[in-house]
């Protein structure tokens, strides 16, 4: 079955993916820091029981202790779990649908983190998926809620809606033109955070950024999502305008076609080099000069990562072997 990141999404020339995560804690249990492993598994069992047959689409529940290291890291590479979630395995369970678009991290920071992941800009739909699952689970699990403080979370910064919505944006043109610090400042004033998705926070590889809501108390889910959506769309427009500008520069055209040549011809390529070249090629795709579908490029962001490649080949590959396999897969897309 196809994973969510293999499908086409809205505005996918700039927006890679949308994620909505909702933190919840089950009434009658201490927060996660104060739970034994047995209690943590008890919560996971309760979730399994509730989900069994209640929703269309099958959920698979996997205790992290049964998952090998490469797969654990691959889950984090594909944004299905946080790096923190795989920093140790005991007591932790991942519940997910087959396409991985809807999932629950059990006993990460809070008892449940209900998450939905979709390709492109799909905030309303992603919220609806997570919200529906939350409502079903709340009926039986009874999540801790206070009228004034909202949903109660282990860390006091997340109370209220306890919802974090985020959009992953690829912004090569705005990055090249030095616009990111200005943008980060502007969105901060509007209650959002812009930060690097992979690598360094202010200079991430592949110009991949994550835009997310910061405020959880005093703003409804719908208002937070509406706010994030309208600012995302405005950034999408700015990026598109800058991409058109860039294409007027001979210097950039040279970089573009060299990057294209790298992806089309390389026999060995690291994930970092792939991401840098791919970000540049996106500008050529936007201009209609390179005929490759955005969804095929976006999918590679997830599938070309080191541990995810290891999982695909069923073994921990040597770096050089892996870099060769990666180059081979990328050439298939660029044929």
């Amino acid at each position: 079955m196809a994973k969510w990141y293999q499908l086409q999404g809205a505005e996918n020339d700039v927006v890679i993916s949308t994620k909505v995560a909702i933190a919840r804690n089950v009434k009658g249990y201490n927060f996660t820091v104060r739970l034994t492993d047995d209690e943590k598994y008890e919560i996971a069992d309760k979730i399994d029981e509730i989900l069994d047959g209640k929703l269309p689409g099958k959920f698979v529940s996997t205790p992290m202790v049964e998952v090998g290291r490469d797969l654990q890291i691959s889950l984090a590479e594909r944004n299905l779990v946080s790096p923190e979630f795989v920093s140790f395995s005991e007591g932790r369970t991942l519940v997910t649908t087959e396409d991985e678009s809807l999932s629950i991290m059990v006993c990460e920071e809070d008892h449940l983190k209900i998450q939905s992941l979709l390709p492109g800009l799909e905030l309303e739909k992603a919220y609806e998926l997570a919200d529906t699952l939350d409502t079903i689970l709340d009926e039986d699990l009874q999540f801790s809620f206070d009228k004034k403080l909202g949903y109660l979370t282990q860390c006091p910064t997340n109370i209220g809606t306890a919802m974090r919505a985020s959009v992953t944006l690829q912004l090569p043109a705005l990055s090249m033109r030095g616009q990111i610090p200005r943008l980060a400042n502007t969105v901060a004033k509007l209650g959002l955070i812009l930060s690097g998705a992979y690598g360094e926070a202010d200079n991430p590889i592949g110009s991949l950024f994550q835009l997310s809501n910061q405020v959880t108390l005093g703003i409804s889910e719908q208002a937070a999502i509406e706010n994030l959506k309208s600012i995302s769309l405005s950034i999408v427009e700015q990026e598109r305008a800058q991409r058109i500008e860039l294409m007027n520069s001979l210097k950039f055209q040279d970089v573009l076609w060299r990057s294209y040549g790298t992806l089309k011809n390389a026999r060995v390529i690291s994930f970092g080099e792939f991401m840098e070249s791919m970000a540049v090629v996106k500008v050529g795709v936007a201009a209609g000069e390179i005929a490759i579908k955005n969804e095929r490029l976006n999918e590679l962001i997830f599938t070309m990562q080191p541990a995810t490649l290891n999982v695909e080949y069923g073994q921990s590959l040597d770096r050089q072997v892996r870099d060769a396999k990666r180059a081979e897969k990328i050439r298939e897309v660029f044929e």
């Binding site: 927060f31 926070a201 108390l217």
Partner: protein, 172 residues
Amino acid sequence: MLCQNCGNAEATTHIKRIVNGEASQIHLCYNCAEHLGYANMFSGFGFNISNMLANFFPEFTRALPSVDISERCPTCGTSFEEVVRSGMMGCADCYSVFYDKLKPSLSRIHGRATHVGKSGAFEVAPVESPKFEDTISKLKSDLQAAVDVQNFELAAKLRDEINALEGGTDNG
């Protein structure tokens, strides 16, 4: 441990991340974490934070004010000192047990806001009896509604009422 970004201040934010197929961790001071956009997120796509005391309870890391930090939550046994040290609550009841002590930190993080949005099917024991703050939050939502329909005369009147009420108390 010193901050890996500036090398000047004590690292208080510890971020786990995945680089080159391996898990690693970086350690940042409060200022660098905030500047780099890590200071106020729960684990989103790639990052997670261990919240150390300086991040959320800076008022308690200096001279501790005259609060009894040894008080414990009867439900989970967590002391307020442990809450401050870890930045984490022990259970849902900790919020009502430590509410007065938490108030300065909560309003620094969240302002004077109260919850709007989805309601849970069940409620824990409510934190304090917020008659006064209910009034203010009602006035605030009326104010927003007035602004939404561009009734600026009413909005100005409500704003004055809110200012008068908020100015009249000192609840952090």
